[in-house]
Amino acid sequence: MKQTRDSIADIWGERTPYYNEQWPIRLDERVEEEPHHWVQAACVLCSAGCGIDIGVKDGKIVGVRGRSVDAVSRGRLGPKGLHGWVANNSKDRLTKPMIRKNGQLTEASWDEAMNLIVSKSKDIIDQHTSLGIGFYTSGQMFLEEYYTLAVIGKAGLGTPHMDGNTRLCTATSAAALKVTFGSDGQPGSYTDLDSAEVIMHVGHNIASQQTVLWMRILDRLEGPNPPKLIVIDPRKTYTAAKATVHLRPKIGTNIPVLNGIINILIKEGLIDHNFINAHTVGFDELKAVTDKWNPKRVEEVSGVPESDLRAAAMLLGNTRTLVSTALQGVYQSMQATASAVQVNNIHLIRGLIAKPGCGIYQMNGQPTAQNTRETGADGDMPGFRNSGNEAHMKQLAELWNVEVEKIPHWSPPTHAMQIFRYCETGSIKMLWISGTNPAVSMPQLGRIRKILSREDLFVIVQDAFMTETCEFADVILPAAIWGEKTGCTTNVDRTVHICHKAIEPPGEAKSDLDIFIDYARRMDFRDKDNRPLPKWNTPEEAFEAWKECTRGRPCDYTGMSYAKLSEGSGIQWPCNEKYPNGTPHLYTDLHFATDYDNCEAFGYDLDTGAAITAEQYKLIDPKGKAFLKSTDYQPPYEEPDGEYPLWLTTGRVVYQFHTRTKTGRSKELCDAAPDSFVQISEEDAATYGIEEGDMVEVTSRRGSVLQPAVIGNIEQGIVFIPFHYGYWDDDSRSRAANELTYTDWDPISKQPHFKYSAVKIRKVAENTWDGPSEKAEHMQRVDNHNFKMEGA
């Protein structure tokens, strides 16, 4: 084994300080054996999207290294990237299809499995139309696979029931960008971090979530002219430890805090009137809404001291450059879209957008979430087209050579939470789950398990491992993963990377693309000229078809090719004749995507989610100006009370990804973060007589879990449980955080509210347990060490 650094002990590695130049190279590598050759790819274990080379020896992955030419990482990799690849070699990969026979999952041939799916599909369509069929996919497959799935769903079957698990992680990002700018698409570029004077992280623990992006910020902090950091987060995270100003709002009070900041900016005259007049609409309403949120009232509601709020506003109000990021602390909390939009508004009223050093990253949670959104494998239309715009739908119909009526666009496609609700009521009869694990990741797991075990629901699970969700499958399809197939990924700053196939998949596992195409052929989907639909078979053909779909749209890929993407670094879309090398910043002409003919959505009521209609939009068409939308505060739907007196919030730990289907196969990552835990404040620990490592029962109205206690670094009244841990490797106790969470969602983005539930806690056992307490102690050691590293 050879590694350039120990990313477990020191997550972010050595500093390479810099300012306003190209980020210096640092090459990270970890191999178990010396590879025979390297294969170009991108890391898929967070949303940063770092270039990665896969090391191959004798048809097996033996290690990885960063790519120094890569604009995103400049050679760096985080702990998940350096270790997670071992999952490919894991002995417990799924290698054969399985079919449930007499209640038991038994091995089957591909023919048997696919023919069963096809006959089931045809039965359902005969009896109930394709509205009886739903798809729930991922944020971790490749662009080509999503686009193929989207075409099968929208033009082959014609079902509106298709969404990705991006609904849980990134739907609000898309919604907020649509609301403000008319279309999805991140305005900024990661290179903005190279020169920004102020960086604001809202509900985003970037140090743990996107470790390589955080390295970039740490390098800035050590270089000349270090940026000032504003962190808005109720927890004292690694990120918050570096903050110039750390605002710790009570759960669910993002809107009061952000309205309060805007209020100060307006009152102090720290806004760009020329920019507001020339490039935005809605300022008067924004002013009226935020006017009520003076710092004193903000403090009363959110607990953020007036002086801290002012300090943050002054930094924001006096900087010439600003990067803001938002993630789950915004997206999975109350008033998600409305809060994310306020982050956009801060940039707009200060005129800090569409130029170097000024970026908004409405972050994604997953490596290819952007692709799920672009291609329409979530609840959107491909190429950021507007389901309410008949001309857009005609474009798709022409592209696919199908009747426009075939494409389900009578209302927005069905979001994941509603898909599961339709399954619960029995009106969706077949649910095809690919590359995701809802039995651990959805809210209120008791309910999800009940839904998935319904007799009248035919469940297909397409995955690489025997996940908790597989337990409920009627058919399991073994899938190839990253490293075993070719395809593209697009990250938060619109950088498109190609991931080449490095090795063969194990056993009979097939790529998701091959599986979807196989289904389409067996279903015999045809276009108007009786030609097979989709018309492609290979990843590159799918990519070429996708390019045509994006022509003239904001996410224009037409200037890219597999050859060009294989040359070195990734390329930022739009990439076309006008911008052959891609585009770091969108909207540099300050003309936003809000024109009626161009916009992806007509907008929504920020309180109810009511859709603005095409006719209404024509009357307010801002023709390229951005919307300053805003709304007043609404308290969370569930709040602590006498019976359930504490807030539960959920989130990630740095060493694990999602439900650990991949990271859970790495010994080093698992040793670093072996088990779930509940983080409790010192005050609450004293109240409940809980000591470090004690086993604690956490109960909500939905269920209860047992977790070893970790004490400190969190506000009184709040407890935190990481959401990664389910049951595939340890079913000895109830431990998945989502046993407790609440089934509810944002009215616009439909993203569930994982960030708050009312719970009660009690100690059930002293720290005498060998298992969890030892693990908790170990975790605490690692945590303390990294906090020290941060403080250093």
Partner: protein
Amino acid sequence: MLVGNFLELAQVVEQEMVKAFTMVAEKHTDEPDVYETCSLLAKWSKQHLKDLEPFAQKYPAKPNVSPPRMERMKFDNEQKGSFALMRDLQDLWLLATEADTCWLILAQAAAGLRDDELKATLTILQKTTKRQIAWLQTRIKQAAPQTLIVGI
């Protein structure tokens, strides 16, 4: 003058809105978005009642003139499920539309009376009522195909 009598009618409509939104919310708790949004919209109608109060004082209703009442659905039936939900949303829409026309009618009177305060209040009420209607339409459109084609 019958402005007071019509204000009284509008109040009855809004009282029914509060009641109906609350009932629909509580009946369809299995549809979390319906529960939360209907609860929110009930609050908006409560606020409308508060906003109307000063004008009901200002324009007392003439005794012995009972305005003809429209026949309305009762929301206290026990039917649940998607079909019942769609019917309930449709009934709410009818009720909200009645409120909307109340503001239209009263706004005309307010103009004739040169009562700027009443006019301003009605503009606000009209706006929120339209937002209630917009949500109902959005949700009905979403529910309709699934309910009618694959309905359980």
